[in-house]
Amino acid sequence: MMVFRHSAATSGMRASDQSNSFLEVTAVGKTFSPDRKPVEAIRSVNLAVGRSEFVTLLGPSGCGKSTLLLMMAGLEVPTSGEIRIGGTRVTGPRADNGIVFQDHTLLPWKTIIDNVLLPIRILGLPTAKYRQRAEELLELVGLHEFRDKRPKQLSGGMKQRAAICRALVHDPQLLLMDEPFSALDAITRDEMNIILMDIWERYHTTVVFVTHSIREAVLLSDRVIVLGGRPATIAYELQVPFERPRSFALTETSEFNQLSGVLRSKIEQGIGRARDAHPPALARGAE
């Protein structure tokens, strides 16, 4: 344990970035009330993400990490607290966000390049000006020769690569990724992790990444935030000490596996806490 605390402190560059943080989540809570009985999903989350930082929200399915991401995207409104991006309070969607969901959501009637240019069209920016950037992104993810193909002619991994290009085409300040690789097979997923690291090395975009894969979290991130409990709170924070650029060989090292082990036990504790707080038989009576 001490080892990790120590290494967190020595990878100081990123830690110091947080002082002039780009994304600030302050005492954010979210309660859903679809019926008469409200459900508190998230309680008082505080989080600061520095510019160019890659932060992962890690936790079991349905723990509220996607909700937190949607609030950052301005697609859900926090019930309490506030979120600021670059100093301004988030009150709705922002043009300088890029979003990738689990499903690629490419338009079947458009070519790959036109799909990538969709945000440009929505934002009313000059397409001609951004076409070069779109092609550059496709080149970077190895899709350049498929630029004029339709989505159905591409494999699942290729479609998700195109979706990442689409999220980055308007040069967003913040890239929000909601389990972007969960629907892919394990081999394609590894491939996508490498591509995403390449992209990050190239553009140094600030990324908030949601996943339930511990390996993915440790491999990609500067910092991992473990969410857990009901309502979800931050159960643990881990600064990932590994140098960049990283390669897949990193996942074979004992340090990597140690960190993964720590995260795994923290997630399990979070699940345990949730169970203790709401024993199934008593859950209703307790409220």
Binding site: P93, D103, P108, P151, K152, H170, L176
Partner: protein, 273 residues
């Protein structure tokens, strides 16, 4: 026998026997088989009417019908053109009204909640029974026929279009909203193109409804058209003329359906489904 050579021998010999014919037969089977069955049915019909000496007024033979058809085809064409024009007109208006109403329904939560269940309920009413009402409302001119045909055409198109517009991938809508897209942008860029296949499947039902609508309209009030001709022939006990009229009507219905199906194919090719 267990040697590989002995197995390959007869197989390759058979393959070289008539491979092209076999492949051609396999590919054309979905077309040839139903055609052959229809041909057999017609032949049986012909044989039965001749053999059992069935009176023409009860069931004319296919040959009698075709003979009459060839003899009076200018008159049939004349009536057929009137009917075709009315079908096309009511289909066009019905499609326009159906899609427009679907757009209105999905554009507002209030309109959707108020209108949609009522329209779906309305779908269950046997609308043919309402045809005489249209004569009461629109008089005995072509207005009543067209209004009734539009009325029964727009329904399936409306339902299909509304379904298509509502069933857009919610993640895609969320992605666009996340990029500050307006409601109108989401409609124009995402919703409407997404609904195109659904709209076309609604239009395929719509065109057959337009045929039914116009014919029922012509039954009730008309001085011209194939529906009128069928009724007129029935009053004269001219059964071959009834069959000839129906045959022309079938050809028109098939042709119009074919045009819509072709348009659908082109649209789906663009859509890339």
């Amino acid at each position: 026998m267990n040697e590989p050579g002995s197995l390959v021998g007869p197989q390759s010999a058979r393959r070289s026997f008539a491979p092209k014919f076999a492949v051609a037969l396999k590919h054309s089977r979905p077309i040839l088989l139903p055609l052959a069955l229809a041909g057999v049915a017609l032949a049986l019909w012909q044989v039965l009417t001749a053999w059992r000496r069935i009176p023409t007024v009860i069931l004319p033979s296919p040959v009698e019908v075709v003979t009459l058809l060839l003899k009076i085809y200018p008159a049939l064409l004349n009536h057929g053109l009137q009917t075709t024009a009315e079908i096309m007109f009511s289909f066009a208006i019905g499609a326009l009204v159906g899609v427009a109403l679907a757009v209105a329904v999905v554009s507002s939560q209030w309109v959707k909640e108020a209108l949609y269940p009522n329209l779906v309920f309305f779908q269950l009413i046997p609308k043919i029974a309402m045809a005489p009402l249209f004569v009461v409302w629109f008089g005995i001119g072509s207005g009543a026929r067209l209004a009734f045909a539009v009325f029964i055409t727009f329904f399936p198109i409306f339902i299909a279009a509304a379904d298509g517009l509502l069933n857009v991938d919610p993640d895609l809508v969320r992605l666009c909203r996340g990029l500050t897209a307006s409601k109108w942008q989401i409609f124009a860029i995402i919703r409407f193109p997404y609904a195109v296949p659904a709209i076309f499947s609604g239009m395929k039902i719509g065109i057959t409804m337009a045929v039914i609508g116009v014919i029922v309209g012509e039954f009730i009030v008309a001085q011209k058209g194939l529906g009128y001709l069928v009724l007129f022939a029935a009053s004269q006990a001219d059964t071959p003329l009834i069959f000839a009229s129906i045959a022309v009507l079938c050809a028109i219905g098939l042709g119009l359906f074919g045009v819509v199906a072709l348009a659908e194919r082109i649209a789906l090719k663009w859509y890339g489904a």
